[in-house]
């Protein structure tokens, strides 16, 4: 309709001063819109889509070093052929024990952390929702602080809390007769510490999302349930959870992506150690690709994140499209 209005007054003038075809093209609504979106399109194409495909290309290369030719069992071939066999890096990774350890650690890290973040967020959101409205702002403000501090900075504080000799945690625990815990020194403790810090950073996000969802559940439903004699568990199971299903799902999926691709926390807290026992895909890729300057192998490692990210992305997209149709 706006189109018609736009072009209508121009028409009588057209015979007098004929605008050039280029000018008319530039004044068309779709052209203006395209030009407005052009920087965005260029940015995404050049700095997101191109690198993503470039990573696939890179992963098919091999670091040009004779010493790694054995990796793909083709050292008996002329170098010109051997260097061009695609996906040798992936073959090589499959034979490495560290790789499977990283796969397992990444999954353990992401799943455990997301579950506990969701649980903690859900519980805390309920407590904040329970107290009178006046005080909620203050508590919410305090509880969101872990999310606001740059993760690299707050992880430094955790590193210091975990310090083996002077640490505040071990000092406090010694009063309870619990011996010094090697927070970042022992493989399993280090995994625990990394997950704990991730929960600390991420739980506030769940809390805020769930709190917003809780506020949108109409009070009448709870009142009706109370009349019917529902206990607190039934109210959560039959009202709160179904009403919040969408937000719970989308928050968990978002967080799965972010947690699975996490870098900062592991990098600062353990740098992957002890003996690679806390490496995730991202930190291991960094170690190989940037620090070890084996870019093809590093690219291959980071590409292994794609399948899981894609599954999560597809579910998120489906959810968003569904809600778009409902609205």
């Amino acid at each position: 309709m706006a189109d018609a209005v736009l072009t209508h007054p121009a028409r009588p003038r057209a015979p007098a001063a004929k605008p050039s075809a280029l000018m008319r093209f530039l004044k068309r609504k779709s052209t203006v819109a395209f030009l407005m979106a052009l920087p965005l399109i260029l940015l995404i194409a050049v700095l997101v889509i191109y690198p993503a495909f470039y990573a696939i290309y890179l992963s098919s290369l091999r670091k040009s070093m004779a010493s790694v030719a054995w990796m793909r069992n083709c050292s008996w071939l002329p170098d010109a052929i051997c260097t061009r066999i695609p996906f040798g890096n992936i073959q090589f990774l499959f034979t490495r024990e560290t790789f499977w350890m990283v796969v397992w650690q990444s999954c353990l890290f992401a799943i455990t952390a997301v579950i506990f973040k969701a649980l903690l967020g859900f519980i805390v959101a309920h407590f904040v929702h329970n107290i009178p409205d006046k005080g909620q702002r203050k508590w919410r403000g305090m509880l969101l602080i872990p999310w606001v501090i740059p993760p690299a900075m707050s992880t430094l504080a955790w590193l210091w809390l975990f310090d083996p000799s002077y640490s505040a945690f071990n000092y406090t625990l010694s009063f309870f007769g619990i011996g010094p815990i090697p927070w970042t020194g022992n493989a399993n403790w280090a995994r625990f510490s990394v997950i704990l810090v991730n929960i600390w950073v991420g739980a506030p996000f769940f809390m805020i999302m769930y709190l917003a969802a809780l506020k949108s559940v109409p009070d009448q439903l709870y009142e009706a349930a109370a009349i019917d004699g529902a206990n607190w568990w039934q109210r959560i199971w039959y009202i709160t959870l179904p009403m919040m299903r969408n937000i719970i799902a989308i928050t968990a999926l978002f967080s799965t992506i972010v947690t699975f691709a996490n870098f900062d926390i592991v990098r600062v807290l353990t740098a992957g150690g002890p003996i690679d026992k806390t490496h995730l895909f991202a930190t291991w890729a960094f170690k190989i690709g940037i620090e070890g300057s084996d870019i093809p192998l590093g690219a291959s490692v980071s590409l292994f994140m794609v399948p899981i990210l894609m599954v999560a992305a597809i579910f998120i997209l489906r959810d968003i499209n569904q809600r778009g149709n409902e609205a």
């Binding site: 700095l47 470039y54 329970n130 590093g298």
Partner: protein, 303 residues
């Protein structure tokens, strides 16, 4: 509603009513107890940063109670704030973050306007694509980007790696998709009659954007600005991968790479630096909490 419940259960009225308020009171009390516990858990690391930042190295290495400062001193703050290196980190961080916010807004506001109001060929697909790029993590792209910049240097002779302004190129990939996405949501909520009226009065599309949409959607723009600033301030992987010289580092990377010298951890200074590095986002959050939270929840609830 309570009335209805009361009339139905008249015999047991007093008991039920009383137990319900008692229940509520207990629930409230327990809520406070647990909130205090959770708040303590949330605030423990920042508080510990603050406590440590007030200690001297001697006090830190003496095996005294780590939760208490016996001889508070500001020497760590003085040492850091007078060190030119640290000021360079701070300046780099501030310049990068502010410029990234400006770039992000210049790209995402017109794009969001075009995508939400002016349909063109492929605009719906592009909107979905913007959202999908928001889901692409930085950890997937840093290696190909590193290689791309290296190749770019070979071709053109322009060195991008190890220059702080390379961050101006890569940070928008993290901020623009999300900002565009939430701006699309905010723009879509503006009634169509508003811009149609302006168009009838002879306004151009650019005028519609600058005179109507930007003022009306200002809360959304503030939320997007805060998001872009905090993301660029906190970003750690890209500067760690792309910059190495001390004078090119931004604050988070600078603190971690220069204050940790080998096995010697000067914890007093490290905690001071971490606290100072956390301060700008915290200050913004303290003053603009509602916008911050609006931006946080907009990503999933709008759209």
């Amino acid at each position: 509603m309570t009335d209805a419940a009361l009339t139905r259960t008249t015999p047991a009225r007093k008991v039920r009513y009383g137990s319900m308020t008692a229940d509520r009171e207990w629930a409230l009390r327990w809520s406070y107890v647990f909130l205090v516990i959770f708040a303590a858990f949330s605030l423990l690391p920042p508080l510990y940063m603050f406590i440590t930042s007030l200690k001297t190295s001697a006090e830190i290495s003496a095996a005294t109670n780590p939760w208490w400062v016996f001889n508070p001193t500001l020497s760590n703050y003085v040492a850091l704030l007078t060190e030119p290196q640290f000021l360079i980190f701070f300046r780099n961080s501030a310049v990068v973050s502010v410029l990234v916010v400006i770039i992000t807004m210049l790209i995402s506001i017109p794009a969001a306007f075009a995508l939400s109001r002016m349909r063109f060929w492929g605009s719906a697909t592009l909107a979905t694509g913007v959202f999908l790029t928001y889901l692409v993590p930085d950890t997937l792209l840093f290696i190909p980007l590193f290689k791309m910049f290296a190749t770019f240097h070979e071709w053109t002779g322009i060195q991008l790696l190890n220059r702080w302004w390379v961050l101006l190129i890569v940070y928008p990939t993290l901020t623009v998709p999300f900002c565009t996405w939430i701006m699309i949501g905010y723009f879509a909520s503006i009634p169509k009659e508003l811009d149609e009226a302006a168009i009838i009065d002879g306004a151009s599309w650019v005028q519609v954007l600058t005179r109507i949409f930007i003022p009306v959607a200002l809360p959304g723009i503030i939320a997007a600005t805060i998001f872009a600033f905090t993301v660029s301030w906190a970003q750690f992987l890209y500067p760690l991968a792309f910059t190495t010289s001390v004078d090119q580092l931004v604050l988070p990377v600078g603190i971690i790479t220069t204050l940790i010298k080998g096995d010697v951890f000067n914890w007093g200074q490290i905690m001071t630096g971490a606290l100072l590095g956390a301060l700008p986002p915290l200050i913004i959050y303290a003053f603009l909490m509602d916008y911050y939270i609006a931006g946080l929840t907009a990503g999933a609830t709008k759209g």
